[in-house]
Amino acid sequence: LARSPIAREASIEVLEQIADKRSTIYIAITVVGLWAAIRRLARFHATSSAGEIAMVAVVVAGILGAVNANYDNSRVVYPTGLPDGETLADLAADAPNSTIANRWSTFLALGDLLDTKQLVLPSNRSLETYFDYMSDLELTFEDYEFQLSDTHPLLGGEWKFDRLITAEQHLVVIGEGDSYRYYEARGHLFVIAEAVW
C-alpha cells in the first residue's frame, strides 16, 4: 500500500488536514477524555463517581468545541441557520450545489409557471419523472419527432422561461396555453405551447 502513488497522495492530503489548527484544540479534548478514562481505570471513582468524571470530560469537550465551532461553520457548504419559512423551490434555488440549484430548482419553477397544465412527451424520453413529480404537469405520451433543427420556426416564439438544467443545457418555455409539447433543439429542452405548434 505504501508504494501506491494514490495512497501516498491521499496520506499527504490527510496529514495536511490533520495539521489544521483545529487539531490542536481537539487533541486537548482527547487528553481530557483520556484523563477521564484513566481516572476510571485507576478506580478513583470509589470517591468520585465515573459519571461526574465523564461529565467533566464532555463539558470541557463541549466548551473547547464551541471555541472552534465558528471556524467549522465558516467552512460549511450547507448552512444550518434559523429557518425562514422556505418552500421547496426556495431551498432548491438557494442550494450551494449547482446540480441541485439548476436541475431541481428549474423543474420546480416550471411547475409554478405552468401550474398543472398538460404536457405531451415523446414515449421514449426519460424526463417523465421530473416533469411529473417535480413540475406536477399532466403528462400524455405520443410517438412524434421531437428533435427540431436549430432554425425551426417553432423556436421563433416568445421565450417565457429560460433556466439552466445543467451547466450547458437550458429548459425553455415558448408561448402560453393549456397544453404544451416537448421538443429538443440547440442542445436545449423546449416546452412549446399548443398555440405555437
Binding site: L1, Y26, R40, L41, M55, T80, E86, Y133
Partner: protein, 475 residues
C-alpha cells in the same frame, strides 16, 4: 410543521401500541417513551416495503389499517392490564416529547436538502401518485426507509418531511442506549444521566455534522436509531422477563434497518453475529427473530431481483450478496450449539474480518488506502464532526483495552469493530473511493454507529455492583 406533527404523533401511537403488546413498558418506561416514535416508523417502513413488493403500492389506507389493528390489540391488552392508566401516561409523555422536539427543531434549524433529499421527495411523490414500482432504478439506490415518510407527506398534501426522521431516530437512539444500559430497572447513577444530557446538548450544538443531521432530509439519524435499538437484543444483559419485549422491538428495528440503507443488511448481519456471542442469546428467540427480520427483507429484495431493478449501488448480483449476508448468521446460529457459538464467535468473526480486510487490500490496494485515509481525515477534521470522534474513539479504545470487562462485552466489540471494518471494506470495494468532506458516504455512515460507541463508553465507565460495594467499604 403541521404535517410533521401529524405524522410523528401517528408514528408514536403505532410505536406505543407495539411497545404495549411487547411489554416494553414493564421493563423500561424511558425506552418506551423515547422509542415509540421510532418503533412506529419501523412498522411503517416494514409495512410499506411489503405493500410495494407485493404489488399493492404504498397505500395510506393500508397504513391506517395497520395502525387500527395495532391500536385495537393494544386497547384489548390495556383493558386486561391491572393499571391501564400507566401506559396512557407513557403515551402522553411520548407524544409530548416527540411533538415538542419537532416544534423545537423546526423553529431552530433550517431544512438542509442535498441531491439525495430530492430523490427521496421524488420517490415519495411517485408512490403517492401510485406510480412507484419495484422496477424503478432509484429504489436500488435508496431503499424504502425514509421514502415512505415522503410518501406520507405527499399523501397529506405536504411538500416534504425533514424533522420527523431525525426526531424519531434521535429519541430512539437515546431510548436504545437506555434500554441496553438499563434493561431491568437498575437505576442509572445521576452523574451518568447528567453527563449524558450535557454531552448530548453540548456536543450536538458544537458539531456541525451532528447539527446538520437534525435538519437534513435523509435517513441517517433514523438508521442510527434502528442500529442502536436493534442492537439491544445482542447487547443488553437480558433476564428472562425482559427477553420477549427486547426481542420484539429489536427485531422490528433490525427489519426496518435492512430496508433503510443499501448496506443495511450487512449491519443487521453484524448484530446477528454479535447475538451469537451474547451471554443472553437463547435458541427460542431465533424463530420469531428470523421471521420478523428476514421475511420483509426477503420479500423486498427477491422482488427487486425479479424486477431486475439496477441502480448505481445495487444490482441483482449485489442483492444476492446482501441476502446471503443476512441469512448466513441466522442459518449458522440455528444449526450450531449455543455453547459453541458463545465460545468461538468472537474469535471467528475477528479472523473473518481480518481476512476480508487483507483480501480487499490485496485486490483493491488503491481503493483501500485512499478510502481509509479519507475516512480517518473526515472523522478527525475534514468531516466537520468537531470534537465528537476525538472524544469517543480514544475513550472507547482505552476503555476497551484496559478497563475491566463489562458483562456481555464480546458482542459490543463485535458490533463496534465489525462496523469499523465494514465501513473500510465498503469504501475499498466502491467504484469511487471515499472522498474528503462531510458529505462523503463513509463519513455519513459513521453517524449510524455513534450511539452504540457512546453507549459503550458509558457502559465501561458506569460503576458496577462490586464498585458500589468497594465505595461503601471505603466510607
Amino acid at each position: 410543521v403541521v404535517v410533521e406533527l401529524v405524522i410523528i404523533l401517528t408514528m408514536t401511537l403505532a410505536g406505543w401500541s407495539v411497545a404495549m403488546l411487547a411489554g416494553l413498558d414493564r421493563i423500561n418506561s424511558s425506552a418506551t417513551v423515547l422509542g415509540s416514535p421510532l418503533l412506529g416508523t419501523a412498522v411503517s417502513v416494514l409495512a410499506s416495503a411489503v405493500m410495494l413488493a407485493l404489488g399493492f403500492g404504498i397505500q395510506i389506507w393500508l397504513h391506517l389499517a395497520v395502525l387500527g389493528v395495532l391500536l385495537f390489540a393494544a386497547a384489548v391488552h390495556l383493558i386486561r392490564a391491572p393499571t391501564p392508566w400507566r401506559p396512557l401516561i407513557l403515551l402522553t409523555q411520548s407524544m409530548v416529547v416527540a411533538g415538542s422536539s419537532i416544534a423545537l427543531l423546526s423553529a431552530s434549524l433550517r431544512p438542509v436538502l442535498t441531491h439525495d433529499s430530492y430523490r427521496f421527495i421524488m420517490l415519495g411523490r411517485m408512490a403517492s401518485a401510485g406510480d412507484l414500482e419495484m422496477s424503478e432504478a432509484m429504489l436500488a439506490d435508496y431503499p424504502i426507509g425514509g421514502i415512505q415518510l415522503q410518501f406520507l407527506a405527499a399523501a397529506l398534501e405536504g411538500e416534504f418531511l425533514v424533522y420527523t426522521a431525525p426526531v424519531a431516530g434521535l429519541l430512539g437512539l437515546i431510548g436504545g442506549v437506555l434500554l441496553i444500559l438499563n434493561p431491568d430497572r437498575e437505576p442509572i447513577p445521576r452523574g451518568i444521566t447528567f453527563a449524558l444530557s450535557v454531552a448530548s446538548a453540548m456536543i450536538v450544538a458544537t458539531s456541525y455534522m451532528l447539527r446538520l443531521q437534525l435538519s437534513l432530509l435523509n435517513s441517517h439519524v433514523m438508521v442510527a436509531g434502528f442500529v442502536t435499538f436493534g442492537a439491544a437484543i445482542a447487547l443488553a444483559p437480558l433476564h428472562r422477563s425482559s427477553r420477549r419485549p427486547v426481542l420484539m422491538t429489536s427485531a422490528l428495528m433490525l427489519g426496518a434497518l435492512a430496508l433503510s440503507r443499501a448496506e443495511g443488511p450487512f449491519i443487521v448481519a453484524l448484530i446477528l453475529i454479535a447475538l451469537a456471542a451474547s451471554e443472553t442469546a437463547h435458541k427460542r428467540d431465533w424463530v420469531p427473530l428470523s421471521l420478523i427480520v428476514l421475511a420483509p427483507a426477503l420479500i423486498w429484495y427477491l422482488r427487486m431481483i425479479q424486477s431486475g431493478g439496477t441502480g448505481e449501488i445495487l444490482s441483482p448480483a449485489r442483492v444476492v450478496v446482501l441476502l446471503v449476508a443476512i441469512a448466513a448468521p441466522i442459518v449458522l446460529i440455528s444449526t450450531t450449539r449455543l455453547a459453541i457459538l458463545r465460545q468461538h464467535t468472537a474469535a471467528l468473526s475477528t479472523g473473518a474480518a481480518t481476512a476480508v480486510l487483507i483480501l480487499v487490500a490485496v485486490i483493491k490496494p488503491d481503493g483501500t488506502a485512499v478510502s481509509t485515509a479519507h475516512l480517518i481525515s473526515n472523522l478527525s477534521v475534514s468531516g466537520l464532526w468537531g470534537v465528537v470522534w476525538w472524544l469517543v474513539l480514544p475513550l472507547a479504545g482505552v476503555l476497551a483495552i484496559a478497563a475491566p470487562p463489562i458483562r456481555n462485552e464480546k458482542p459490543w466489540l463485535i458490533v463496534l469493530l465489525g462496523f469499523a471494518v465494514l465501513i473500510v471494506v465498503l469504501g475499498a470495494v466502491r467504484d469511487f473511493p471515499y472522498r474528503l468532506g462531510f458529505g462523503d458516504s463513509g463519513n455519513r455512515m459513521a453517524t449510524h454507529i455513534l450511539g452504540l460507541a457512546i453507549g459503550f463508553v458509558i457502559a465501561k465507565m458506569r460503576p458496577r455492583p462490586d464498585d458500589a460495594t468497594q465505595m461503601n467499604s471505603s466510607t
